[in-house]
């Protein structure tokens, strides 16, 4: 079990890296949200690994449940914003969200 959880750290770092990379290079608003989702998966894996390492898996589970609820609210609100902004600008390109400059 401990060996399995140690293995997680490599993959937590990889996932966090992929999520951050997605956030940095993408212009598509939907893909930015996917990047946030990938980052949250890395966080979930890290939380459970920490819980397993110190023998408190149940506490880690309660934190993960809270995190998932927050995550789904964030995704729903962000998708609502994206749809509204698409209605206003007819685009989901982040670089076209510059109307406030005018």
């Amino acid at each position: 079990m401990a060996e399995l959880l140690k293995l997680n750290w490599f993959f937590v770092a990889l996932l966090a890296f992929v999520g951050l990379y997605c956030l940095l290079v993408s212009r598509n608003l939907l893909r930015l949200l996917i990047g946030i989702e990938i980052l949250s998966k890395a966080c979930i894996l890290a939380l459970i690994s920490c819980g397993g390492a110190i023998g408190k898996v149940n506490t880690a589970q309660t934190l993960v449940i809270t995190m998932i609820v927050v995550e789904v609210v964030v995704v729903a609100v962000a998708l609502g914003l994206i749809i509204r902004s698409y209605g206003a600008t007819n685009s989901i390109d982040m670089w076209r969200l510059n109307k406030l400059k005018d």
Binding site: M1, E3, L4, K6, L7, W9, F10, F11, A13, L14, V18, G19, Y21, C22, V25, S26, R27, N28, L30, R31, L33, I34, G35, E37, I38, K41, I44, L45, I48, G51, G52, A53, I54, G55, K56, V57, N58, T59, A60, Q61, T62, L63, V64, I65, I68, V69, E71, V72, V73, V74, V75, A76, V77, L79, G80, R84, Y86, S91, I92, D93
Partner: protein, 159 residues
């Protein structure tokens, strides 16, 4: 061990696909597959409640939200032209990161494993409904705030 490693590889692979696929529908489905892999990982490390939440909410609800958002957006917009050259750098950067972790990872993980392990007496029910009841109040507030925000976005008021 090999089953667990396979699940971790599937998780990272499908997350990579979700981050790089040009078709947003396939990207959303890849994210769902990554969520399913994470669910199986959580089951494997004896965290069934978190696994059930991950499966029902992340692999189910969030995928439905993504697919419905994709269906509302024109196809030309979904295939937005992005600088693919920057994505081509990804494997190289991942290789550098992997090498760094290979060299320094044990030291980093060792810092965590130095914390003494304790035995947990409280069950998940006692923790969720007793010790961490404030978290549940926070969750209710978050859900209410989200519902109000969505209502504000799509209301047909005077604006």
């Amino acid at each position: 061990m090999s089953y667990y490693l396979l699940l971790l590889c599937i998780l990272v692979l499908f997350s990579l696909l979700a981050a790089t696929l040009r078709n947003m529908l396939f990207a959303a489905v890849s994210l769902a597959v990554a969520s399913i892999a994470l669910t199986l990982i959580l089951f494997a490390v004896s965290a069934p409640w978190a696994a059930i939440f991950e499966l029902s909410v992340c692999a189910g609800l969030i995928t439905v939200l993504f697919v419905s958002a994709v269906s509302m957006i024109r196809k030309e917009e979904l295939f937005l032209k992005e600088g693919r050259l920057r994505f081509a750098l990804l494997p190289l950067l991942v290789a550098v990161l992997g090498l760094g972790l290979w060299v320094f990872g044990d030291r980093l993980a060792g810092a965590l494993w130095a914390i003494p392990s304790t035995t947990e007496k409280a069950g998940i029910g006692m923790l969720l409904w007793g010790i961490r009841i404030q978290d549940l109040l926070g969750q209710v507030c978050m859900i209410l705030a989200g519902a109000l925000a969505i209502r504000a976005f799509f209301s047909k008021g005077r604006g």
